[in-house]
């Protein structure tokens, strides 16, 4: 028989009430345990949520990371089965950046110095901008005129 | 009772009578009382009436036992005694008196004209007739015995668990065999199978007695069929749902497909049954003196008479060549199919006369006839013709796979109130 008693109080208070009133003669097995170790928050089926949202987790390293990945093209696969959390190239960059930024006030300088430091350790950088220049398609000249009209330059007429 | 006595006293017996039947009236009466105590009909009322009397004599210890042999000790003893008596009455050896003999004896001594076979006198071992003993569900500490108690289907989940466990053992062995002890980072490999750390932990529990030689492929057994839903419910003693049944069969099927599943044959045999191949009933006719094999084949309404001789591969149908008679490639292939499967198209000359039916039916009839006729030459062909291992050379899909099986499909009859066999009349709103 379904009851709506579960909305009132907790399991503990209900059973306590039943014991006191004599509806149950014996304590359930778990009763003493729940009495001694009560939950941190008593169950309440209509408890209102704590207002507000969770805070955003943003760190100063995130800015550096953003800049790093924008500048340089690094697709480094990470083996997630390895649990020793080996630092990635970006992590190493940030370690250097942290040191340099303590000395330098200008972020860009610290950035460049960290890059040099990594290059000394043997990391080759390829800049995204350079690569884009190589792959750029040459723009065609506008050769349209009514003499040599064709489908290719039909919109240029 | 008087009619029975009458029957016993005045019966005309053709076989040699046991002396007991030349009875005086009083002896006959006593005889009947003996029957009553021996024989029971398969109705619950009678059983409970009989055994309720015996119940009171039962010992406390026996009544609480869950082992059927102990619990029903008295009934079993009574049965054994009755069996001996019956054997002696029939003047047979009581030691070798089988269940079949009991049936014959009862049919002889207590002939019944009742239509329902269940209602006739039977005498079976009590364990077959008495209800199964309900096992205790809760132990003395108040805890249920079965781990899946709260699911409602503990036996079902026990089976699932065993299958799962066996399968993981099998996976482990596959890996061992494949990579041996040379796996450098075996954990990574196990994980790459997306089994996770589960398998790694199970690997500790696995026994080491399986040799790589047991990693054999020979486990596909076509003559097995999994038990039906009702049979499974009977075994598990639980009313499992259709979904659960499908799930169980899927798990068992996956288990069977494993390379070394023949190691757990005993476990799987509990859940499957031998299926007699239909072609075991095929009779093989001997060759004639001249070395000709005669046989018949039927399909729909077509009947074909086949003669096969050793030859060069000529096929004549109703005095026409194969190519003349059957225009379509489909039909030509049907006719040649048994020979194609055996790779013997060059070895035999076939002459057939076929009547009735249409082209496809005649082609099917000839095919069956040829398959049957070929068996006369070499019984070993039966295996190939049964399973039809044609490899990858199929280019036309054929009707059935079993060449030795007479295709029972016929044209479905037209039903009244419908236009054809299935087609109904057009539905009209008014």
């Amino acid at each position: 028989m379904a009851s709506r008693n579960f909305k009132v109080g907790t399991v503990y208070t209900r059973v306590l009430g039943l014991l006191k009133s004599g509806a149950i003669k014996q304590k359930p097995l778990w009763f003493d345990i729940v009495e001694t170790f009560p939950p941190i928050l008593p169950t309440m089926h209509n408890r209102a949520p704590v207002p507000g949202r969770a805070r955003k987790l943003q760190y100063w390293e995130d800015e550096v990371r953003e800049k790093f990945y924008k500048e340089f093209k690094f697709i480094e696969p990470v083996n997630l089965y390895e649990t020793d959390n080996k630092p990635t190239i970006c992590d190493r960059f940030i370690m250097h950046y942290e040191q340099f930024s303590q000395e330098e006030t200008d972020g860009d300088v610290a950035f460049a110095k960290s890059k040099e430091a990594l290059e000394q350790e043997g990391v080759t950088f390829s800049r995204i901008k350079e690569k884009e220049e190589k792959e750029a398609v040459p723009v065609k000249e506008n050769t349209a005129s009514e003499d040599n009209a064709s489908i290719e330059n039909i919109f240029q007429l | 009772m008087t009619s029975l006595m009458h029957m016993v006293g005045r019966r005309k017996f053709s076989t040699g009578l046991p002396s007991i039947f030349k009875l005086h009236r009083m002896d006959a009466y006593r005889g009947i009382q003996v029957w009553k105590s021996l024989v029971q009909t398969n109705t619950n009322r009678l059983i409970t009436r009989q055994y309720s009397r015996l119940d009171t004599n039962r010992n406390e210890q026996q009544s609480s036992s869950i082992i059927p042999e102990e619990r029903y000790k008295n009934e079993i003893a009574a049965f054994e005694r009755g069996k001996r008596r019956l054997a002696l009455m029939m003047e047979k050896d009581p030691e070798t008196f089988t269940d079949q003999d009991i049936e014959e004896a009862l049919a002889y001594l207590l002939p019944s004209s009742l239509f329902a076979k269940d209602a006739r006198p039977i005498m079976k071992h009590p364990l077959e007739l008495l209800p199964k003993i309900q096992e205790k569900k809760i132990d003395k500490d108040g805890r249920p015995f079965a781990a899946g108690y709260y699911t409602g289907f503990p036996a079902f989940y026990n089976t699932i668990h065993v299958i799962f466990f066996i399968r993981f053992k099998a996976i482990k062995y596959c890996l061992q065999v494949q990579f041996g002890n040379e796996i450098g980072e075996r954990e990574e490999l196990l994980m790459s199978l997306s089994l996770g750390k589960e398998v790694d932990r199970l690997a500790d529990e696995v026994t080491q007695d399986l040799a790589p030689a047991d990693f054999s492929q020979d486990n596909t057994n076509l003559s097995f069929r999994w038990l039906s839903s009702d049979q499974m419910k009977d075994i598990l003693q639980e009313d499992i749902t259709d979904r659960q049944y499908d799930y169980l069969i899927a798990r068992l099927e996956r288990l069977q497909q494993f390379p070394n599943s023949n190691r757990v044959k005993d476990f799987m045999d509990k859940y499957r049954k031998n299926v007699e191949l239909r072609s075991t009933k095929v009779k093989i006719r001997p060759l004639s003196v001249a070395g000709v094999s005669y046989n018949k084949g039927k399909r729909k309404t077509a009947v074909a008479n086949i003669q096969i001789q050793e030859g060069t591969g000529n096929v004549t149908i109703n005095d026409k060549s194969l190519v003349e008679y059957f225009q379509q490639l489909l039909h030509r292939e049907q006719v040649l199919y048994p020979l194609l499967v055996l790779n013997l198209t060059h070895a035999f000359d076939i002459t057939c006369s076929v009547r009735g039916g249409g082209l496809s039916g005649q082609a099917g009839a000839i095919r069956l006839g040829i398959a049957r006729a070929l068996l006369s030459f070499n019984e070993a062909y039966k295996e190939t013709l049964d399973e039809c291992k044609f490899g990858d050379k199929f280019w036309i899909i054929l009707d059935t796979d079993e060449l030795l099986h007479r295709d029972p499909r016929i044209v479905e009859r037209k039903k009244p109130g419908q236009k054809k066999a299935r087609r109904k009349f057009a539905w009209v709103k008014r």
Binding site: N5 | G142, Q244
Partner: protein, 242 residues
């Protein structure tokens, strides 16, 4: 309403060893040793769902929002997990019936195996409605569990409601998209990945087995196993059951 409670079996089978009351200790079964926050982190317990699917009731258990994913506060998890494991151990020590519930297909074998290892009970694949509140009809003997552990909350809301109706304390792994209100001892943590569920299963089964071993040792040392000075053990229903 009252009939529901008569269904519950009360076996106060505590054998109190002279001088030792497990309840008097804060951590009688040394549950602290079973895990560390690092082990929780390594198993990925802190990984919550995307922020868009969260349940606002989980706010106090969430550490923050990292690029659109909620991160569960492992300090909170630690507190709640310790409490839950402690309670589980005590109930196992008293030979209580503990029921593992997880109706997700990817974890069914894991849960079944865990339950069988520690000789407790499980419900996988489907929770039969009314198994607790309508036990007279659905179970051969209506013996209800003393503790229910939910390894996946959103798929088992009806079961959680039923355990509250039947007045059975529950432990539940609540992810950021779950409603923890009806669970007696919620534990905030990831309930979707195999690694984290394996961790929980291992923790619970170890705690239960340790408690049972402890119980066996204590039983061997008791001078008085009978119920002197305690409420008499209700054996009548057990006998009815047999």
């Amino acid at each position: 309403m009252i009939s529901v409670h008569i269904l519950i079996y009360f076996f106060s089978s505590i054998s109190i060893v002279i001088g030792i009351n497990p309840l008097a200790h804060k951590d009688f079964f040394d549950v602290r040793q079973l895990y560390s926050i690092k082990s929780l982190f390594d198993a990925g317990v802190h990984l919550g769902h995307k922020t868009g699917v969260w349940n606002p009731l989980m706010k106090q258990y969430i550490y923050g929002d990292r690029h659109g994913n909620h991160i569960i506060d492992l300090n909170e998890t630690d507190r709640h997990l310790f409490l839950a494991l402690n309670v589980t151990s005590h109930i196992a020590y008293r030979k209580g019936v503990i029921l593992f519930v997880c109706c997700r297909p990817q974890f069914q074998h894991l849960v079944q195996k865990t339950a069988r290892e520690c000789q407790e009970f499980f419900v996988i694949q489907r929770w039969r409605g009314g198994i607790l509140t309508n036990a007279h009809k659905l179970l051969p003997v209506p013996r209800l569990p003393d503790l229910i552990i939910f390894l996946s909350v959103p798929y088992n809301m009806d079961a959680i409601r039923e355990s509250a109706q039947a007045n059975i304390p529950s432990i539940g792994i609540v992810d950021t998209d779950c409603n923890p209100n009806l669970i007696t001892y919620p534990i905030a943590g990831n309930d979707d990945s195999l690694s984290s569920l394996e961790l929980y299963c291992r923790l619970f089964s170890t705690a239960i087995l340790n408690a049972k071993v402890q119980r066996q040792n204590d039983d061997n040392y008791t001078i008085d196993k009978s119920n002197d000075g305690e409420t008499p053990r209700d054996n009548s229903r057990a006998e009815m059951a047999s």
